[in-house]
């Protein structure tokens, strides 16, 4: 009795789960990056590989429990004993694992082993409890040096720039929103002002931590215009859940327009 109930329950759970995953009841949002499709296909690949193991595993378990739940015949081991099982594990799983790590490394490499395009638009990103600020180099194409001691949010000097003594920093454009031109390589440099944070844009398929003390570069190219959320995924304190900014992917023209407006507001 219990046995059949258990078997049915497990089978049911397995099928419902499989359905939800295959039917994408909950799934990733549209992908707007050039490298994204590689990651998506890798995920689909993994869903296939792991999903098969999941369904197979659960159903075999359910089947055995169902079949022998009430059996009182003399027990027998499976023919061949443990050897085939071990062999199976090594060959099949090993093969899948190898496949995943190699295809996977391709996808990973495509994102992280490639050098940023020399013409990429550099943007400096600073995370702090609990907001992001973005810095564009301005006409001179040079970022001003940062002086932590000068950081003063009361006067909106979020980065700690020193316009009085540092010409490079005078034309730096600091914004609270990340706007980028579509179809143009972007090179972000992430640095944190205080604790660990993270830069997560689901549509870009990009997630990268801010590690205090390090300047971490990430580069990508957005393929669709629109407004997307940037959220923090690294526990950073009481405002963690509320730490976000917006990514605006604009046409080149709109972007230039936007940048002018921002420059005027400095």
């Amino acid at each position: 009795m219990s046995g059949k109930a258990f078997a049915v329950l497990v089978a049911l759970i397995t099928l419902v789960t499989a359905y939800c995953v295959i039917a994408h009841v909950w799934w990733m949002p549209v992908d707007i990056s050039v490298h994204g499709p590689k990651i998506d296909s890798q995920l689909e690949e993994t869903v296939f590989v792991a999903g098969t193991l999941f369904v197979a595993g659960q159903l075999v378990l359910a089947a055995f429990v169902f079949l022998y739940g009430s059996s009182r015949d003399k027990p027998k081991q499976i023919p061949g004993g443990a050897k085939p099982l071990v062999l199976f594990a090594f060959l099949l799983v090993g093969a899948e694992v190898l496949a995943l790590s190699f295809i996977g490394s391709k996808a990973w490499g495509a994102v992280y082993f490639t050098a940023p395009d020399p013409g990429a638009l550099p943007i400096d990103v600073q995370a702090g409890q609990f907001a992001y600020y973005f810095r564009y180099a301005g006409p001179d194409g040079k970022f001003g040096a940062l002086h932590p001691a000068l950081i003063n949010e009361g006067s909106q000097n979020y980065f700690g720039l020193d316009p009085e003594h540092d010409p490079d920093s005078r034309d730096d454009i600091v914004t609270a929103e990340l706007a980028i031109p579509v179809n143009k390589p972007i090179l972000l440099t992430l640095h944190s002002k205080d604790v660990g944070h993270s830069f997560y844009v689901r549509e870009l398929r990009v997630q990268q931590d801010f590690v205090p003390g390090l300047n971490l570069p990430i580069h990508f190219t957005a393929t669709q215009t629109g407004r997307f959320e940037i959220v923090c995924t690294q526990l950073c304190g009481l405002g963690h859940y509320n730490m976000k900014a917006y990514l605006s992917v604009l046409s080149q023209a709109d972007f230039d327009e936007w940048l002018k407006k921002q420059a005027a507001m400095q």
């Binding site: 499976i78 443990a82 950081i151 997560y200 509320n242």
Partner: protein, 586 residues
């Protein structure tokens, strides 16, 4: 050398204190540990309740909370910082004081000496010390709830600088974090002493005929696990000390230069948060196996009894799988740091062994599942929970494929997918195995049977509940729901609120089901029917003595072992100590 009789190397103590409180008897200590974990488990569960309620109904007022912390929950309305504190303490208490303590220190202490035919642990006083040190650690952890600063909010991983710079980083980073560091340090010391005791006992105190090849698989699991703990906790200990040094000694091991809080530049310089992450995860990943290996052992030990046949491949295959898992667990920690700015090449280096560690795990699973082939299942509660463990562990393991690869992890990292994954693999799998062990050994530990009906009810509700809660978390993870958020305010999170409510309701029911278990345990402890010496007709030494066992475990009998631990053939079963012929057809 080593041939001195195991029999009473310390006389039965007199007086209540020596007998039940400051006892050096491994059985009492085992029960003390189990009780401690039980208390801790319910504390941790209530914390998760509060979190789930707040997540589903952010404006819900929880009056009791305002009593516990007027600051954290003014008027019962939970503040984000208090949510994070509850989350941190839930993780800490569950991971350390429940999952690490119960199946290893709890059952291991009680059963391992008996299973090898010894009268006690190798170092009884050390054993007592490790329990009391654990208790101190637990008290310190709980103390964070009552101090003004409140509990820490930097998660059970306590990443610096958040955890290292002190209150400038916000509420919960004051003395709460100091106590947290000390609490874990105490727990490390206790675990090290315990591991040492387990290893020596297994190797040195086996009774006549109990060769290594005849050890019950649970003993093997505890033995292997002791080695993993011995190395892992030996690294967590200094890590905690260095963290506390950064906080109280003004050092900068984990704090880089030029950090700015509230427009004040911090005095620290030269440290590296990544150093902490490396040290922590060098412990942290073995830790999840420290949690799951005893579960492996318990299930491998219980299954044969209730399917009335040995495991496929006997003791060797599973044991070697466990040993392989334990060894590999030390070379995979980097997969927690794929998005931490570690070199992407390092990420590849760590990804491969992480995927390969699935092989021994799969072998173990295959052994368990295929052992059911042509078996005689006996559907008593311990078996149900063992089967439940199998299902949960398979599911949890599958999630690993997604997180082991940097490419897919870069999307799923820090989503609820991760939360669902580790709750399946190490959280609930281990808990189910622990329940299996509880229903299986309760008669031996307390001399009374648990109520089967309640036990089964407890199983069905828990099993369904677990899937409703944590499988749903996997799915929302695909949608990108971020973990450790105290409210869903982001545009893409808002649509998930209904799903989230469902999870919360399921979680509350899942929690409620545990009270059935609590009632069953307490009631049966005093009113349950008396248990025979061997109620499950099992074959290992703990079933070859009275329930509960006498002070020296075997009443002065010299135990001699003739068989392996899995001598089952349908009805028939041969005690390890009986000279009869073997019946198992391995």
């Amino acid at each position: 050398m080593g041939t001195t009789p195991a029999a009473v190397h310390h006389a039965p103590p007199q007086g209540f204190l020596r007998k039940y409180v400051f006892s050096v008897d491994h059985k009492v200590i085992g029960i003390q540990y189990t009780t401690l974990s039980l208390v801790a488990a319910f504390v941790g569960m209530v914390l998760s309740w509060a979190m789930r309620v707040h997540l589903a109904w952010p404006n819900a007022k929880i009056p009791l909370l305002s009593l516990l912390s007027p600051n954290g929950a003014p008027g019962g309305l939970m503040t984000p910082e208090y949510y994070l504190s509850l989350m941190t303490m839930h993780g800490t208490i569950m991971a350390f004081f429940v999952l690490t303590a119960a199946p290893m220190a709890g059952y291991g202490n009680f059963m391992l000496p008996i299973q090898v035919g010894a009268a006690d642990m190798a170092f009884p006083r050390l054993n007592m010390a490790s329990f009391w040190v654990t208790l101190v650690g637990f008290v310190l952890a709980c103390a964070t709830f009552v101090i003004p600063d409140g509990p820490p909010l930097s998660g059970w991983t306590a990443y610096p600088p958040l955890s290292a710079v002190g209150s400038v980083a916000g509420p919960g980073q004051g003395w709460g974090q100091n106590l947290w560091g000390l609490s874990i340090a105490f727990f490390c010391v206790a675990s090290l002493l315990g591991a040492l005791n387990f290893i020596v006992t297994t190797l040195e105190l086996r009774t006549k005929g109990m060769t290594l090849s005849r050890l019950p698989i649970s003993t093997w699991a505890w033995f292997i696990n002791a080695w993993v703990s011995l190395l892992a906790f030996a690294v967590l200990l200094p890590t905690c000390l260095l963290l506390v040094l950064d906080r109280l000694g003004g050092t900068s091991f984990f704090i880089p230069a030029g950090l700015v809080f509230n427009e004040q530049v911090q005095p620290h310089a030269g440290g590296s948060p990544l150093l902490f992450q490396h040290l922590f995860w060098f412990f942290g990943h073995p830790e999840v196996y420290i949690i799951i290996l005893p579960a492996f052992g318990i299930v491998s030990h219980i299954l044969p009894t209730f399917i009335r046949k040995p495991l496929v491949g006997g003791w060797k295959v599973v044991t070697f799988a466990m040993a392989a898992v334990g060894t590999l667990s030390f070379v995979v920690w980097g997969h927690h740091m794929f998005v931490s700015g570690m070199s992407p090449y390092m990420a590849m280096v760590f990804s491969v062994p992480t995927l390969f560690i699935t092989i021994p795990s799969v072998i173990a699973v295959l052994i368990w599942v295929f052992s059911l082939y042509r078996s005689n299942l006996r559907f008593q509660t311990p078996l149900l929970f063992s089967l439940g463990f199998l299902s949960l562990f398979i599911t949890g393991g599958i999630g690993g494929f997604f997180l082991a690869q940097p490419s897919t992890d870069s999307y799923l990292h820090a989503t609820t997918f991760v939360v669902g994954h580790f709750h399946f693999t190490m959280g609930l799998s281990a808990i189910f195995a622990t329940f299996a062990g509880f229903y299986y050994w309760f008669p031996k530990m307390f001399g009374r049977m648990l109520n089967e009906r309640l036990g089964k009810l407890h199983f069905w509700l828990s099993f369904v509940g677990v899937y409703c809660v944590f499988m749903t978390m996997h799915l929302t993870g695909f949608a990108g729901a971020v973990r450790r958020y105290s409210a869903f305010v982001d545009d893409f999170m808002v649509p998930l609120i209904p799903t989230n409510r469902f999870i919360s309701v399921a979680a509350l029911l899942l929690g409620a089901a545990q009270f059935i278990f609590l009632f069953n345990a307490v009631w049966s402890r005093f009113k349950g029917p008396k248990a025979d010496d061997n109620p499950w007709s099992a074959t290992t030494l703990e079933w070859d003595t009275t329930s509960p066992p006498p002070f020296d475990n075997f009443g002065g009998r010299q135990m001699t072992v003739y068989h392996g631990p899995m001598e089952y053939d349908g009805e028939a079963g041969v005690m390890q100590t009986s000279p009869e012929a073997s019946v198992a057809g391995t």
